[in-house]
C-alpha cells in the first residue's frame, strides 16, 4: 500500500469516526434543546389554562387558540396535585396515523375547590422535521468539507513527498559497481535532506568497501599465484625422488590435491576479478553452434568413456555479438557440468534456437535443465543469474562460474 493511500485512508477513517460521534452528540443536544423549548411552551399554556380555570371555573376552549390537542375536564370533587410530562404515541386525525406527541398531564384543584385535569398534546413531528433538516445540512457541509480536506491532504502530501520518491527512484537505479556516486537532489525539506545526506554517506562508504574488497580480491589472487606456483613446482621436484615410500607418496599426493584446489579457487577468483574489471569487454561476432561443436570435440573422449549420448538440435544459426572467451567459458562450464553430473550411459540434449540455448542432462535423481536465454529481452531477466548478453553486464557470470 502506498504511503499516500494509507494516510488518506486513516485520515478518512478518523474523520468519519469524529463526525459520527460529534453528529450523535449534536443530535442529542439539538433534541434536548427542542424538547426543553417544547416543554416550556406546554407549561406556559398550562399556566394560561389554569389561570382561566381559576378565573371562570369553566372549561375554556383553547384548541383554536393554540392549535393543538388540549383536553380539559372539570369535576366537583377536588384532586390531589399531580403533574408529569412525557412522550406518547397517539392517533393523529390530521395525519391519519399514530404519531409521537409531547404530553403534559396536570391534575389539580382550583381556587374554588373544583378538581380539574389538563391534557395537552403537542406533536413532536414538527421539531423532529426541523432536526432532520438541520442534520441533513450539517451532513452535507461535512461531506463537502471532508472531500475537500482529503483531496487537499492528498495533493499536499503528494507534493511534499516528491523528494522522497525521487530519492527512492535514485536508490533503485543505483548500482554499486558503477563508478559514479549516488546523486541525490537537494530539497527544501529538512528531514529529506537529512535522509539524503545519510544515504549519500552510506553509499559512499559501501562503494569504498566494495572497491577495497574488489582490489583485495584481485591483489590476493594475484599474490597467491606465485606461492602456488612455487609449491607446485617444489612438489613436482619432490616426487621425482627415487627413494620415496608409499606412505610418503600418499602424503605428497594429499598436499598436491590441496594445492590444486587452492589453485582452482584462485583461478575462479581471478576470473571474477577480471570480469568485474571489464577485461572481457571486447565483443566480436561469435557463432554459438561452432563453439558448442568445438567444446564437444574437446570432451569427446570423456563423453565416449562415460557412454553418454549427445543429441544436438540447432534450429537456427546463432551469431551473437559478445566476448569470445566468455562465450567459451560459459559453454565449457555448461557442457562439462552436464558431463560430470551425469550417469553412466546417460544422455545430454543440447538445443539451440534463435533465442535460447539449453543443455539438459540425465542425472541420478533429478533432471537438471540449464536454460540460457540469448536474445529475448523479456525472458532474459529470469535467467540473468547465468548469463547476460549486454556486453557490459557480464558481471552476472561470476555467480554462475562459482
Amino acid at each position: 500500500m502506498k504511503l499516500l493511500t494509507r494516510t488518506s485512508r486513516y485520515y478518512l477513517l478518523i474523520s468519519v469516526v469524529v463526525f459520527v460521534i460529534s453528529g450523535l452528540i449534536f443530535f442529542r443536544l439539538l433534541h434536548t434543546i427542542f424538547e426543553k423549548q417544547l416543554d416550556e411552551t406546554l407549561f406556559e399554556e398550562k399556566l394560561l389554562i389554569e389561570e382561566t380555570i381559576n378565573f371562570s371555573d369553566s372549561v375554556p376552549d383553547f384548541r383554536s387558540v393554540f392549535g393543538h390537542m388540549i383536553d380539559i375536564t372539570i369535576v366537583n370533587t377536588s384532586h390531589v396535585k399531580t403533574e408529569y410530562i412525557r412522550d406518547t404515541l397517539m392517533y393523529d386525525r390530521d395525519l391519519g396515523s399514530f404519531a409521537a406527541f409531547r404530553h403534559l398531564f396536570v391534575e389539580n384543584t382550583s381556587v374554588k375547590h373544583k378538581g380539574y385535569t389538563i391534557n395537552i398534546y403537542k406533536p413532536l413531528s414538527d421539531s423532529e422535521k426541523l432536526i432532520t433538516e438541520i442534520i441533513l445540512i450539517v451532513v452535507l457541509v461535512f461531506i463537502i468539507l471532508l472531500v475537500l480536506l482529503v483531496w487537499a491532504n492528498y495533493f499536499i502530501a503528494r507534493r511534499v513527498w516528491i523528494p522522497f520518491y525521487r530519492t527512492i527512484s535514485n536508490l533503485s537505479h543505483y548500482e554499486i559497481n558503477q563508478e559514479k556516486p549516488l546523486s541525490l537532489m537537494k530539497t527544501d525539506i529538512y528531514e529529506f535532506n537529512l535522509l539524503n545526506q545519510a544515504l549519500a554517506k552510506m553509499s559512499k562508504k559501501i562503494q569504498q568497501d566494495y572497491i577495497n574488497l574488489k582490489e583485495f580480491n584481485e591483489n590476493a589472487s594475484h599474490e597467491l599465484l606465485t606461492p602456488i606456483s612455487v609449491i607446485k613446482s617444489k612438489l613436482e621436484l619432490l616426487i621425482q625422488g627415487e627413494d620415496l615410500d608409499e606412505q610418503q607418496l600418499q602424503l605428497i599426493s594429499s598436499v598436491f590435491d590441496a594445492t590444486s584446489r587452492i589453485s582452482k579457487l584462485n583461478q575462479g577468483l581471478l576470473l571474477i576479478s577480471k570480469i568485474e574489471n571489464n577485461q572481457f569487454a571486447q565483443a566480436e561476432e561469435v557463432n554459438m553452434s561452432q563453439i558448442i561443436d568445438i567444446t564437444l570435440e574437446h570432451f569427446e573422449e570423456i563423453i565416449e568413456h562415460r557412454k553418454i549420448v549427445i543429441t544436438k538440435k540447432y534450429f537456427h544459426e546463432v551469431i551473437l555479438n559478445m566476448n569470445r572467451t566468455l562465450a567459451e567459458i560459459l559453454i565449457t562450464n555448461l557442457i562439462s557440468n552436464a558431463i560430470r553430473h551425469n550417469i553412466a550411459s546417460g544422455n545430454i540434449e543440447i538445443i539451440l534456437t534463435a533465442d535460447s540455448f539449453s543443455v539438459t542432462n540425465t542425472g541420478q535423481h533429478l533432471k537438471l535443465t540449464r536454460p540460457v536465454c540469448l536474445n529475448d529481452s523479456e525472458n532474459r531477466k529470469a535467467i540473468l543469474i547465468q548469463w547476460d548478453l549486454d556486453s557490459q553486464s557480464y558481471k552476472k557470470l561470476p555467480i554462475f562460474t562459482k
Binding site: H222, L225, T226, I228, S229, V230, K232, S233, K234, E236, L237, I239, Q240, E246, L249, Q250, I252, S253, F256, D257, S260, S263, K264, Q267, L270, K274, Q279, H298, F299, E301, I302, H305, R306, T325, I329, T332, N333, S336, R340
Partner: protein, 225 residues
C-alpha cells in the same frame, strides 16, 4: 642445449632450473630484466623462458630485443596473468608459446622440448624412445617398425610421456595437458587410467615394451629403467 630462464621469483626459478637440468639442458637463470638483456646480447640460446612481469621491465621487451638481433631462439612466455591481450601480443612479436602460472613443470618441459625439436634438428624431426619412433609432423607412431593407430589424445599422451621420460607425472598434470585446466578432472582420474591402459595395450600389441609404471597414489612414469 642452452636455455635461459628469466624469472624474478627465485624459488620458482630454482625449481624450473633443477627440473630442466635433469634433461641435460644447460639452464641459466636470471632474475632481472637488465641481466636478461645482458645475457641475450652475450650468448646464443636455443630457448628462453621469460616471465612478462619483471621488476625492472617487461618480458615482452626482452622478446623484442631478441627479435631485433634476428635471433632464432625459441621463446616461451610464462605469465601470472592469463590475459588474452598479453598472449596475443606476446605471440605476435614472435614468442612460440605461452604458459600461465601456476603450471606443471612437466608441461613446461614438454613445451621446451617441442620448441627445440621444431627448431634445431635441421629437418630430422623425429622422436625416438627405444623401439618407439614418432614423426611429429606426420603424427605417425611406429613400434618396432609397425605403425601404431592412436587417437589424438593417446598421441598427445605418448608425446607428453616421452618428453618427460623417467619423471613421475601426476594424474593432474596429465589431465591438464590433455584437456586444459577448464575441465575439473578431480572426479575423472579413472578416465586417465583407461586412456593409459589403452595406450599401453596398443603399444604392447605391436610388440612394444611396457614402459608405463604406475606410481601408487600419485601418477605414472614412463621409463625403461
Amino acid at each position: 642445449m642452452k636455455i635461459l630462464l628469466i624469472e624474478d621469483e627465485k624459488e620458482l626459478s630454482c625449481s624450473i632450473t633443477e627440473y630442466l637440468q635433469k634433461e641435460s639442458y644447460l639452464c641459466e637463470a636470471v632474475l632481472t630484466f637488465d641481466d636478461a638483456i645482458e645475457k641475450i646480447n652475450m650468448y646464443q640460446y636455443d630457448c628462453i623462458i621469460v616471465d612478462i612481469n619483471l621488476p625492472d621491465g617487461s618480458g615482452l621487451n626482452v622478446i623484442r630485443a631478441l627479435k631485433k638481433n634476428k635471433s632464432e631462439t625459441g621463446i616461451i612466455i610464462i605469465s601470472a596473468k592469463n590475459s588474452l591481450d598479453d598472449k596475443v601480443s606476446g605471440l605476435g612479436i614472435g614468442a612460440d608459446d605461452y604458459l600461465t602460472k601456476p603450471f606443471h613443470l612437466p608441461e613446461l618441459n614438454a613445451r621446451v622440448k617441442s620448441i627445440i625439436r621444431r627448431r634445431s634438428f635441421g629437418g630430422i624431426n623425429e622422436i625416438v624412445f627405444n623401439d618407439i619412433r614418432i614423426l611429429p609432423e606426420e603424427m605417425e607412431v611406429t613400434v618396432n617398425g609397425n605403425s601404431l593407430d592412436l587417437t589424438k589424445k593417446e598421441y598427445a599422451l605418448l608425446i607428453f610421456f616421452i618428453s618427460n621420460k623417467d619423471r613421475v607425472l601426476t594424474k593432474e598434470s596429465i589431465a591438464e595437458h590433455l584437456w586444459g585446466d577448464e575441465m575439473d578432472m578431480a572426479d575423472s582420474f579413472d578416465f586417465i587410467y583407461t586412456h593409459i591402459k589403452n595406450l599401453r595395450k596398443k603399444i604392447m600389441e605391436k610388440g612394444g615394451e611396457d614402459y608405463i609404471r604406475t606410481i601408487y597414489g600419485m601418477g605414472y612414469k614412463f621409463t625403461d629403467r
